[in-house]
Every structure is written in C-alpha cells, then in structure tokens.
C-alpha cells in the first residue's frame, strides 16, 4: 500500500509538469557525460524540425528509477512524448494494455526493414506482428579488454584467448598486477558469466538452447559445467581488486593496475576518454577470442499513445528522425555504440569498433539476454550470480544447479 501512495504522489507531481502540444517530453536515463552528449543530438534534430524537445532525464543506471516512474505515469493517464526502454521483453505488458503508439505504418512507409541491420533489432520491437519501438543503437557484451602495458610488464605476450589469459595469471600476480577487475554490482558478474563466458565457452548454439529455448537440461549439462568452472576461475582471478562501478574497473585496466576486464563495448568510451589507442595501449577480444559472436543489446524508444493529434504527429516525426542516417551517425559516435543501420559509414571507428562492425556484417550475432529473457528471470539470475560471486564457499556445481532451476521455470 505504501507503493500505491508513492505511485499516486508521483503521478500528481508529474501531472503538474505535463507538456503542451508540439512539445515532446522524452524520458530517458542517459545522464553520464557521454550519454548526455549523445541525447543532445536527438534534441537538436527534433528542435530543428520545429517541435520542442523537453528533456525528462531520470538518473539511475539501467532505468531502475525511470521505469517505475514511466509505468505509473502511463497507467495514470499522463503519457510522455517518448520514453527509453531496453528493447526486449520489458514492455510486453504495456503493449498488451495498448499504451504505445503503433509504428508499423511509419516503418513500412519508410522501409525500415530494408535498412535496419541486423533485422532482429526490429523483431525485438515487434509484438503480434506490429512494431512499437525505434531501436537507436547496438551494444554488445562479449568483450574482454586487456591492458597491453600490464602484460609487457609481466614479460608476457598479450593473450589471444581466454585460456591463454588464465594461464598468464600467475605471472601477472608475480609482477604485482591483478589479473582481472570486476565491479561488485550484480549486473556485472551476471553479464560476465551468462552472456560472455557462456557464449564464449559453451558456444552460441548451446547458449541459444538455454536462453531462447529455455532448455534446463542443457543448462545443467556438461557444456555449462565448463562455463561455471570458468566463472569460478574468474571469481578467483578477480579477488585481488575490489571496486564497485564498472567504469572504475575499466580505469584499473587503463592504469595497468589490473590486466583485464570483461565488459560490454560501452567500456570503450572510457578508453577513448583516457586517450588510449586500441591495439597499442589496449587490446580487445570479442567473444574472449574463443567464439567471436556478439549479442545484440541496446536501447530503444517507445511512444506512448496520446489523445492530442499534434503530439502524435510530432511523435512519429521524432521516431523517423531517430532512425535517420544523419542522426544515427551523430548519436552513435557520441554514445560509442554501433548504429542500427547497415547503410551508414562510420569512418571514425577504431580498431575494436571495426572488429564489432565486421562481426555484425558476418552475421555472427545472438539475441542477447534482455531480448531472450523476461526481466523477472534476469533478476533471479542476478540474485544467484551475486551470491555466487561473493560467497566463495558456493561451488560452481551448486551455482549451475540453481541456474538450471531458474531456466526451468523461466517464462
């Protein structure tokens, strides 16, 4: 009941600041420096079209604060102009309630199917054959970032795959370098184990069986046993350094304090800010150098249904702007992510980004956990992984059995 009151209060506060027609209030959770600069590209484009962008940023990584606020506003009948969501299954319920604008006609008119690449990005926005969101970027998890100077200091070559990296750990330690840095937040260990180690070690087909088909017997099987053994190894390798945020772990790699971090491609933004050069100061191995495959995560915008015809028109214009060539390039260069269109030219891309683009072009792609699993299942897995990661008495076999149980009841 406390919740109800909070929701009511929230709705009341929000209602007071409702937007006028032709003004579009856009809710998102991109508040860090680079993210805000990227959002500004959207705002610029919309303002240039004659409408007005009203920024509704709600801080909190992964939308933890924004999503409840958005949901209570939508249910309270006070829709905003547009709202960010990680595309995937987060919004199924809201779509079923008919709260979002159907973008199917716009996308058919502009031929989104022809240029959005890979096409599965649109599938993630589709429910019952209708399109409800605009994907704006692609992020992938399957990267390990290695500090070249750290390996040189230990007298080693920079490893080219996971096994070489594990083998190099004792020498790194002897040289006073922490083999790995992993932040303490739940999503970091979860992503590392279920998205990166699983794809790299068990392979994409096995990963699909577990995450897409939700086959618990595969999750309990020998391929995943190796994944959890690798996870236990990673837990041991990461014990030397204790940080909370992912970017602090990245910073440890940048300074050579730690030799490696397994993290999504957003880590690249940190290397860029520190003026590190890919291939010289740091190396990256997609799929840990074992199975170079990328899963498609990313962000998408939804447009809540609105009674005002003017606003609806403006919403459709914004949707079409977000996916247009110019905005895709300017936005993604700032954000450090890959564009959702196959027909734009990112000449400014660095070594690692090019590796990513190459994998996209070769079709070495997976659906990604956000798209395959419901938020509920992801939350359960996070709880398990955080327990496993922090409690060294929990064995790999225990964790695997519990993981399989979660997959068995995943919806």
């Amino acid at each position: 009941m406390k919740k109800t009151i909070t929701a009511l209060a929230m709705t009341a506060i929000m209602a007071a600041g409702a937007a006028k027609a032709a003004e579009l209030e856009v809710v998102h959770w991109w508040t860090s420096g680079g993210e805000a600069a990227a959002v500004a590209e959207f705002a610029k484009a919309l303002d240039a079209s004659g409408h007005k962008w009203v920024d509704g940023a709600i801080a909190g990584g992964g939308g933890t604060n924004a999503i409840p606020a958005v949901v209570s506003r939508l249910l309270g009948g006070d829709p905003m102009g547009a709202t960010q969501f990680n595309h995937g299954r987060q919004t199924e319920d809201l779509i079923q309630e008919g709260l979002f604008l159907d973008l199917t006609e716009l996308s058919e008119k502009e031929g989104w199917r022809d240029f959005v690449f890979p096409g599965s990005l649109l599938d993630a926005c589709t429910y019952d054959g209708r399109l409800y969101c605009v994907p704006v970027n692609i992020h992938s998890w399957q990267w390990i970032w290695l500090s070249n100077p750290a390996f040189q200091k230990a007298g080693l070559d920079v490893p080219t795959n996971w096994d070489e990296f594990v083998a190099s750990a004792p020498k790194l330690r002897a040289a006073g370098i922490a083999p790995m840095a992993v932040g303490a937040q739940a999503w970091q260990s979860t992503g590392m184990i279920t998205e990166v180690l699983a794809v790299a070690i068990a392979g994409p087909d096995t990963w699909n069986k577990v995450n897409i088909d939700k086959d618990a017997s595969v999750a309990a099987g020998p391929a995943y046993t190796k994944v959890f053994e690798a996870a236990a190894t990673a837990r041991e390798l990461a014990a030397d350094i204790s940080v909370t945020d992912w970017n602090l772990a990245t910073a440890a790699v940048i300074t050579g304090q730690a030799a490696a971090q397994i993290m999504g491609d957003w880590a690249q933004g940190e290397f860029a800010v520190a003026e590190q050069v890919a291939g010289k100061d740091y190396s990256c191995l997609p799929g840990l150098g074992v199975n170079p495959v990328l899963s498609l995560g990313g962000d998408a915008f939804y447009f809540p249904k609105n009674k005002d015809a003017e606003t609806t028109k403006a919403q459709l214009e914004l949707a079409s702007l977000m996916i247009s060539k110019e905005v895709q390039v300017s936005f993604n260069l700032k954000k450090g992510s890959l564009p959702v269109r196959g027909d734009v030219n990112l000449s400014a891309a660095n070594d690692c980004m090019k590796k990513g683009l190459g994998l996209l072009a070769d079709g070495k792609i997976l659906a990604g956990g956000n798209i395959a699993l419901s938020r509920d299942t992801i939350g359960q897995i996070e709880d398990l992984m955080v327990q496993f990661w922090n409690d060294t008495s929990m064995s790999a076999a225990d964790a695997q059995a519990k993981y399989a149980a979660i997959i068995a009841q995943a919806d």
Binding site: D376, G379, D383, N390
Partner: protein
C-alpha cells in the same frame, strides 16, 4: 448494560465521531482495503501490471524456494532480535542514568536523541563511510600505530548485518531513551522515598517496582522499535545495497526489487503478504493478552 435510558451509541460524542471519520476511512480503505487487494493479487501471475491471472500458491512456492528470501528472513531475525534487545536495554540504562539529576541533562538528552532526527539515508551513508576500511575507523586506529587492527564489518559477509545493526542502534536508541525517561519521570517521588526508607537497593527498586510501573512507556517504545525493524529498507539501501553478496538483504528490499526490478508484482505481493503475516502472528497474541489484562484490571 441494561440501562434503557442511555443515549444511542451513535449520538453519543457525536462531534468526536465525525472528527474521526477521515481516520476511520483511511484505516478502512488504505490499510484494510489495500492490504486485502495485495493479498488477493499475490495469488495471481501479475507481472509489470496487476492482472487477475490466477496461479494459486505458485508465487509462495517460488518465494520459499528462493535463497535470497530465506537469507532476508534470517537477516531480519538477527537484526530484529539484536535491535530490540540492545535498543531497549541500552535505552533504559541511558534513561536511568540521565534520571540521576545529572548536570547538563538537556544537553545529553539532545545529543542522544539527535541521531533520530536524521533520515536513515544519512545514517546509512555516514556509517558506510565510518566502517569503510580505507578511510573509516580502521584507518584512524591504524594511523595511531595499531597496524594490525582490522575492523571492516561491511566487507565481510558474516558480519555485514552487524555493521547495519550498529547504524540502526545508533539512530534508534535515543528515541527509546527519551520515551523511557518520560516513563521514569512519571514515577511518583514517594515511591523512591519509601524504598530509601526501607533500605531497598536502587537496582532492585528499578527492576521490581519501577519497570513494572513503566509498562506504558515500555510498550510504546517496543511497538516503535518493532515497526522500524519490520520495515527496515532505506538504511540497507543507503549503507550496503544488500551486499556483500546477499549478506544484508532484508524482506522489504526483496519486495521492492521483485516489484520494480524484476517487474513481477505477483512475487512482490506474495512477499509483502508474508511480511504482513509475520506482523499479525506477533501482534494477535499480544493484543489478545493486552485486552484480557485490561478487562481484568
């Protein structure tokens, strides 16, 4: 009650009855109504939105099969037991000491009550910093020369909940002390005089005479502390975020995370129904007991 001339129940004290209508409505609609609604929806498979899709007891099955929930209950039990015990005992002892007509009583009272004026978020953050090994208490003591000194409860899964307990006690004990002090001040001076004349030692007077007379104050403090225990949430979020691992998870945080992070309202409702059940299990025998006492007395 066979008096035929008594005014009807409705017309007696009519103005005070009208005045209590808003509160009565609040109690009925918010407390009873919303709680019932929550219990009903805990039997559904509601995800992001509440929907009447019946799933029977499956939410409860899952709840009691979840490690995190079990750990949360254990943590709440440890925190609750220690909090109740220490805040009542320490609160009473501090009140008894303050009651010795010491100098600067007002100053001490303010100092002890002051933490209660802070929000749990501030308390949590302050104690997180104080218990942080790199710049908190441990560092200060090590800088004094005791380099082997280790004191970092929040980084150790086995002790983290006691780190939270410290912050909770620091904040909550002052309030207990003030209530107890009020109770002590309500004790008739003559009782003290009589015991002095009879030569009964002071500690015995406290335990045998004063504490039983302070029943009202003790129960008030007990209820306030008990409710603060059941609903502990912001302290945890500010101080540890439930970590390290699951070491300081509590039921209220489980409810919030299920509802908003997992977008699984049904599971959150099932957990909050269990919390309600705990409260009722403790409350009902106690109310019945109190009610009987009153009738007898």
């Amino acid at each position: 009650m066979a008096d035929s001339k008594r005014p009807s129940i409705l017309s007696r004290n009519i103005s005070s009855k009208i005045a209590s209508i808003p509160m009565a409505l609040t109690a009925l609609v918010i407390f009873i109504g919303c709680s019932t609604w929550t219990v009903v929806y805990s039997f559904t498979g509601s995800k992001l939105l509440p929907k009447l899709r019946w799933t029977g007891l499956s939410q409860y099955d899952r709840l009691w099969g979840t490690d995190r929930w079990i750990v949360s209950i254990e943590n709440l039990a440890i925190y609750g037991f220690c909090m109740l015990l220490f805040s009542m005992v320490v609160g009473f002892v501090m009140a008894a000491l303050l009651d010795q007509r010491i100098r600067f009583e007002n100053t001490f009272r303010s100092i002890f009550l002051y933490p209660y004026a802070l929000s749990f978020v501030v308390t949590g953050l302050t104690w997180q910093w104080m218990l942080n090994p790199t710049f908190g208490v441990q560092k200060v003591v090590r800088d004094w020369g005791y380099t082997a000194f280790t004191f970092a409860p929040l980084t150790d899964s086995d002790y983290a909940i006691y780190g939270v307990l410290m912050a909770g006690l620091w904040q909550g004990t002052g309030l207990v002390m003030v209530i107890m002090l009020a109770g002590l001040r309500g004790i008739d001076e003559d009782i003290w005089k009589a015991t002095r004349v009879d030569g009964i030692p002071k500690w015995k007077t406290y335990i045998r005479i004063v504490i039983p007379l302070m029943r009202g104050a003790i129960i008030t403090a007990l209820v306030l502390v008990a409710t603060s225990i059941i609903k502990v949430f912001d302290l945890i979020v500010a101080q540890t975020q439930g970590g390290p691992g699951l070491a300081t998870e509590v039921p209220a945080k489980y409810v919030m995370d299920m509802m908003f992070r997992n977008q699984n309202l049904g599971q959150g409702f099932a957990a909050s129904t269990m919390m309600l059940a705990f409260v009722i299990i403790i409350l009902i025998p106690w109310t019945v007991y109190e009610y009987r006492e009153k009738r007898r007395g």
